[in-house]
């Protein structure tokens, strides 16, 4: 009997190990593979144009493809930019929002195109004196078409792109789209009608909050907490997605015009249609 006892004990230990400890260890190992949730931060502190838009889109793409990124906070400090690049970022944001919440945190300014992106988020925070709004489109009409002795083109608008009148109407259409973006994005939260929203005013965030252009006055950490809350995650980490998604710095080129002395001016160096806020004194100088 005494000889069989240790054998029995080993069998019991083996049984416990096999049926209890091993599954537990395996469970712990598998659990360890579950990544902790990440709140990704994407910063846009520039005008919205090809360079900055590509950088933001890469980060959005990274967030969408990596399951540990459970929500995104878009930190904005931008006067807006070109129409097409604003739309590019906006459409990518909408796609991301289908699987992950996006919260905007406005730093200094979310004007024009930058507000377009704000309207495409789930929730928007701003500091009380952040500047918000300037909803609208700006563009310089092309010259009236004419012909030149030494330039041969194959149609009346080959050199001019479109008739002046059509160009004006295109700008009006873009404005209508912008308003629709704001309406559909803000929904019932929008407290102002088109006469106010489309007036082109830029408001301090406290005033923008009153008319429902943003959801709350608060800091970037408030935005991160809100993003985690919307994603229903806790014990998360916060990661700047730029370094993860844009390993190679794209070639930078300047969006804004420069004075003869090399000073950067707050208006674009190329003519076009923009969702851009240009400070008023400089509009006059233009």
């Amino acid at each position: 009997m005494d000889e069989t006892k240790p054998e029995l004990q080993w069998i019991r230990v083996r049984t416990v190990l096999l049926w209890l400890a091993l599954p537990l260890v395996l469970g712990l190992l598998v659990a360890a593979l579950i990544p902790p949730p990440v709140i990704g931060v994407i910063s846009l502190s520039d005008a919205i144009y090809s360079y900055s838009a590509q950088a933001v889109i890469k980060q959005i793409d990274y967030a969408r493809k990596h399951p540990e990124v459970r929500a995104v906070v878009l930190v904005l400090d931008s006067p807006g930019g070109t129409v097409v690049h604003t739309e590019s970022v906006y459409l990518e944001l909408l796609k991301l929002r289908e699987s992950k919440p996006v919260v905007v945190s406005i730093e200094g300014m979310a004007a024009s195109g930058a507000y377009y992106l704000t309207a495409g988020s789930d929730y928007a925070f701003a500091k009380p004196t952040s500047m918000v709004g300037n909803i609208g489109v700006i563009g310089v009409l092309p010259d009236s078409p004419s012909i030149f002795e030494n330039i041969i083109s194959t149609g009346p608008y080959k050199l001019w792109g479109s008739p002046r009148d059509t160009y004006m109407r295109q700008i009006e259409t873009i404005k209508q789209v912008f308003y629709e973006v704001v309406k559909s994005g803000r929904g019932d939260r929008l407290q102002a009608g088109p006469d106010v929203v489309l007036s082109g005013q830029i408001w301090p965030a406290a005033a923008a909050y009153q008319i429902g252009l943003i959801d709350e006055l608060g800091s970037q950490s408030d935005a991160i907490e809100k993003a985690a809350s919307l994603a229903r995650v806790s014990n998360y980490t916060v990661t700047d997605l730029y370094s993860l998604s844009v390993p190679q710095t794209p070639v930078y080129y300047g969006f804004f015009a420069e004075s003869g002395e090399g000073t950067t001016l707050p208006y674009p160096k190329e003519a076009g249609i923009y969702l851009l806020y240009i400070p008023p004194a400089l509009v006059e100088q233009r």
């Binding site: 049984t15 049926w19 209890l20 091993l22 599954p23 537990l24 395996l26 469970g27 712990l28 598998v30 659990a31 360890a32 579950i34 902790p36 949730p37 459970r70 929500a71 459409l91 909408l94 929002r97 289908e98 699987s99 992950k100 919440p101 789930d122 009148d165 059509t166 004006m168 109407r169 295109q170 700008i171 009006e172 259409t173 209508q176 789209v177 629709e180 973006v181 559909s184 994005g185 929904g187 088109p194 006469d195 489309l198 007036s199 919307l230 994603a231 229903r232 995650v233 806790s234 014990n235 998360y236 004194a281 006059e284 100088q285």
Partner: protein, 476 residues
């Protein structure tokens, strides 16, 4: 422990840490949201209103020979190319367009004008110019004033870089003020129903006026509102229109007429230019404005000399007046003055049929001249006095009379000096076109003349004498 119990226990132990970690990190496994997005494909370019009329030629020119003066002397913010459609419309109606570049005083140019048009000035009108415009309008001339909020002059201080906006309304409102009209320093906008842009405002509310007859919709492209304090608004906005001055909704007028119907104020002139005149009924309105400019009925007045005649003119003398040497010089001056306005003056013994007439006579020939003075209620009495009905008595010794009468057959100007010797002075005064030393009341003028003594010879008055004195000889 049975085998199935062991299996259940093993599975539970395997799942437990996974579950704990999952719950710690993720309250629900996956976030899924329905995201609404605008239907981008549904947006279409807004269409411009269909033009209802073209800039067609006018079948029956109604303004034949009438002259329209366009201001080009007050830093006006337009280029001639822009207003070509209006110039064409005026020309098509038989009008002649002249640009006032300040070569001669405005009063002189307005003497013969049917209308005076001012576009967005950036320089102030002088007191003399304002007076001349006032007299012009009082005598039946028409004043058309166009401002435009897109034509403000922006000046940059070269030292500080600061910008100063100088709106055209600052310079044009003093011109309009006597007629109870003024422009607001604003622009109108409509964010809901506009012509391609918020500042392109559509107007469909018209008052009952020949200017607006037949109009259904006009569009102004950046327009000041006009405040018709005593006049009337010809066009009114809808209630969704805002003024940039107050950002308040209201009914605003872009076009107004003064109470006397002689002054038109328009807050925009882009609608006259290409291609904006092709939109809605803008071409019709342009035509109506041209008709208005040429529609004045100015009665010729003495102060408008030499623009009293439109036909070849005969100069005749009556009574004791002879064409002597002293009179030939002043008559030549008179001839030149009329030549400038394309009116030939011929000296004749008797007025030619169908011509206008200038009559030279002396008051001392009472019997001869009474045929000219009587229709004006003027009688000459025995005490060398002139009785003018409604005006009183005037001395006939040192006063010249100017009498102007107009009829479809002939216009007649009578110049009567106290004596034949004083006639050259009166002719010279009239030929110079400056009647400021004359009292002019309707078509009677009384001019002060210097009596000529029999001994004095004034025939060399036009010459300049340089008096020299003998050089003193030094006394040794």
């Amino acid at each position: 422990m049975k085998t199935h119990t062991r299996i259940i226990l093993a599975v539970v132990l395997f799942i437990l840490p996974i579950l704990v970690r999952s719950v710690t990190f993720y309250q629900t496994p996956f976030y899924k949201a329905e995201v609404s997005r605008p239907d981008f494909a549904s947006f279409k370019l807004p269409e411009p209103p269909t033009p209802s009329a073209s800039l067609a030629a006018v079948a029956a020119p109604a303004g034949e020979g009438k002259v329209v003066i366009i201001d080009a002397y007050h830093g006006n913010q337009y280029v001639p190319n822009e207003i070509e459609p209006l110039v064409t419309a005026l020309s098509a109606r038989g009008g002649r367009v002249e640009f006032d570049k300040g070569v001669q005083p405005l009063a002189g140019q307005l003497k013969y004008a049917s209308a005076y048009i001012v576009f967005s000035p950036s320089l102030a009108f002088s007191g003399d110019e304002l007076r001349a415009i006032r007299q012009f309008v009082d005598s039946g001339g028409r004043l058309l004033v166009f401002a435009d909020p897109t034509r403000s002059l922006i000046a940059v201080d070269s030292y500080s870089g600061a910008t100063f906006v100088s709106p055209d309304v600052n310079y044009i409102n003093p011109v309009l003020a006597p007629y109870g009209l003024s422009f607001a320093n604003d622009y109108l906008y409509n964010l809901q129903d506009n012509e391609g842009n918020f500042r392109n405002v559509k107007f469909v509310d018209f008052s009952d006026s020949p200017m607006t007859a037949g109009l259904k919709m006009v569009v102004f492209y950046g327009v000041h509102s006009v405040q018709p304090n005593t006049g009337s608004s010809l066009i009114r906005s809808d209630s969704n229109t805002f003024s940039s001055l107050t950002d308040q909704r209201g009914i605003y007028a872009p076009l107004a007429l003064s109470e006397n119907g002689q002054v038109l104020a328009a807050g925009d002139f882009s609608f006259l230019t290409n291609p904006f005149n092709q939109v809605a009924d803008n071409a019709m309105l342009l035509g109506a404005i041209a008709d208005f400019a040429l529609g004045s009925e100015r009665a010729p007045s003495l102060v408008n000399f030499p623009y009293l005649f439109s036909r070849p003119t005969s100069l005749v003398t009556v009574g004791e007046v002879r064409l002597d040497a002293s009179l030939l010089g002043p008559i030549a001056t008179l001839q030149n003055a009329l030549k400038l306005v394309n009116v030939p003056l011929n000296v004749r013994a008797k007025a030619a049929d169908g011509s206008d007439v200038i009559v030279l006579g002396a008051l001392q020939d009472q019997d001869t001249i009474s045929v000219y003075t009587r229709p004006f209620g003027i009688t000459l009495n025995e005490e060398n006095g002139i009785d003018i009905k409604g005006l009183g008595k005037v001395s006939a010794e040192d006063s010249g009379l100017l009498l102007f009468s107009q009829s479809p057959r002939s216009n007649t100007l009578v110049l009567l000096a106290p004596t034949a010797k004083m006639l050259p002075e009166l002719v010279r005064l009239v030929a110079g076109g400056d009647l400021s030393s004359c009292v002019v009341q309707e078509n009677i003028g009384i001019c002060s003349l210097t009596p000529v003594s029999e001994e004095e010879d004034y025939s060399f008055d036009d010459y300049y004498y340089e008096y020299t004195t003998e050089t003193p000889v030094p006394v040794p």
